[in-house]
């Protein structure tokens, strides 16, 4: 594949895939087609089952969640949701999570766009080293670095700080964002940019008016990745922010497992609610974002 086709995999996808699809569809049902669809159904069920179990447990009365013979038919109740959202500081956790996640993703996009542009389009000393560095940064074992990070934050008197948490999440998602966006930028033909500059655009304008719009799938997929990463992060916030007013939703998920027994209903209700934003964003961005995830890095 040439580089030119890469930036538009998503728009191109339906166009190129559909004719072939229609061709196949018109044919009468053949055993192969039946098997294919049946297989797909089985795969779908396998993948969705744990998710279904989470939602259904959230709706079950407490006694029926764990049982020797699983309960499939029950009278749904919203008690668990009421309990889950009724905890102290619930809205603080929501706000904190949103601020930290959105902040980290937005920062990462801006910084990564600049860096990605430089890497993709400019020749400078240390470029190769930077690419290597970004790649290696993706391997950063954050989970085992929490103690070092904690000691730094503690000694700098920066515990219980949302800005620091935002900054950490930003750096967590930055390497992937740079890498992906760099791929997308590189895939935009230089000629397009040059044409814009000939038309009197400055380099900055050329970037904004020509390259930027073509990056939409990349921006979406990296935001999605960043969102999932930051939204789910647990280990760092657990150790850094002991002050409840500076905690985020992942910690809220675990607070229903107490010495008096684990309130599984509330845990699952909380988890279901927690998953909803990601699902919504996913469905919203899916068409464009999926594929962008590696398309940028793949470049055909």
């Amino acid at each position: 594949m040439s580089t030119t086709t890469a930036p538009k995999p998503a728009p191109a996808a339906p166009a190129s895939a559909r004719p072939a699809q229609r061709l196949r569809k018109r044919r009468p049902l053949r055993p192969a087609a039946v098997a294919k669809n049946l297989g797909a159904l089985v795969v779908a069920v396998v993948f969705v089952f744990p998710v279904y179990w989470m939602f259904s447990s959230a709706l079950k009365p407490s006694g029926q969640i764990l049982s020797k013979d699983p309960v499939f038919v029950f009278t749904p109740t919203l008690d668990n949701f009421t309990k889950a959202t009724g905890v102290d500081l619930f809205w603080t956790y929501v706000t904190n999570s949103l601020v930290v996640t959105v902040g980290a993703v937005a920062l990462a996009l801006v910084v990564a766009l600049a860096a990605g542009f430089a890497i993709a389009r400019m020749k400078f000393k240390g470029r190769k080293g930077l690419v290597l560095g970004v790649m290696m940064a993706q391997m950063a074992p954050w989970e085992v670095m929490v103690i070092a990070m904690y000691m730094i934050a503690r000694d700098a008197e920066m515990l219980n700080s949302l800005p620091l948490l935002t900054a950490i999440y930003f750096v967590m998602v930055l390497p992937f964002t740079i890498w992906t966006l760099r791929g997308f930028i590189a895939a935009v033909p230089v000629t397009l940019e040059e044409a814009a500059q000939i038309d009197g655009c400055t380099r900055g304008q050329a970037f904004r008016k020509v390259i930027f719009p073509l990056l939409a799938p990349g921006l979406m997929s990296t935001s999605l990745f960043g969102f999932i990463t930051a939204w789910n992060e647990f280990a760092m916030v657990l150790i850094l922010n002991k002050d409840k007013t500076a905690q985020t939703l992942p910690l809220w998920l675990t607070q229903f497992q107490t010495a008096f027994g684990n309130d599984w209903g509330a845990t699952m209700a909380a988890s279901s609610l927690f998953a909803v934003p990601v699902l919504v964003i996913f469905v919203f961005l899916q068409r464009k974002a999926v594929g962008g995830m590696t398309a940028g890095a793949v470049k055909g």
Partner: protein, 338 residues
Amino acid sequence: MTVHSQGAVTAPQDAPPKSAGGQQTPPTTKGAGTSAPRRGRKPLPAGWLPYLLIGPAVLSLATLLLYPLAKNVILSFQKVDKIEFIQRKAPFNGVENYTQLLGDAHFWTVVLRTFTFTAANVALIMLIGSLVGILLNRLGTWMRLVLSMALVMAWAMPIVASVTVFQWLFDEQFGVMNWVMRTLGFSGYEQHNWFETGLSTLTIVTVLVVWGSVPFVALNMYAGLTTVSGELYEAARMDGANGWQTFWQVVFPNLKPFFTVTTFLEVIWVFKAFTQVYAMNRGGPDRASETLPVFAFVEGQSQGHYALAAAISVLTIVMLVIVMSFYFRLILKQEEEQ
């Protein structure tokens, strides 16, 4: 940050423009600047513009990644147990932590286990992910929507919740899996313990990890497949290639970069997987399902040997870099070819 790096460059020339340049900088970074062309056009391009653009990224990676990493390395040469940790002391003790680790049979078992676990998981993820991706590409619109929604839902489920659900599914007393096996008429599943051994525990963890990672690969594989134009398939079919041959002759070469990159990412993610492994059975029974990140956590935070855990993490990074160097070269080569 930008002001700082920019100032360093202009300083030798003359002092006053420093502040002016500082104001000029942000617009340039964001790509809007109206003043940039007037003043900066000529001296800029070859010189410091790229550095300006990468500046924020480099600086933030340096402060929030490199610095903690360095701190971690230093920590690994110190003696920091619970007492030192609380008293905030950190006496150096040379390579003591490393010699202790390298001489510990358990450590090597964990290393071997981690590599095996990673290899098995990545192989399964790539295989199943590709197959599901191909399946997606061949389905009708409706079925494709159903399947991709299922994948997306699995992907979006919070790890904390998925681990809990998987623990339930495989619970000894109340697990759905035991119920399924009983219902299907298998004997011995009245109270089968799925976490009996380290191996069986890791098998369940593998199911969880593969389940959680396949959507990423499958959906991207599908997206990649849609970029392979129909004509290529047609041509292959004309040549009389069967499905398998079509895959190797048409799909694979076209998606080679996809496979390289995805495998690279999955290796990293699985190797570092902590929550799934730890939460499932806390590294048990008898520490038999510990992988390197879990081992580091158990020794560090649970047992309070913070410096030893730092040494484990350093060794983990070193091993990962060595293993991945092959990939680095591969990807850098792709970089050159662009």
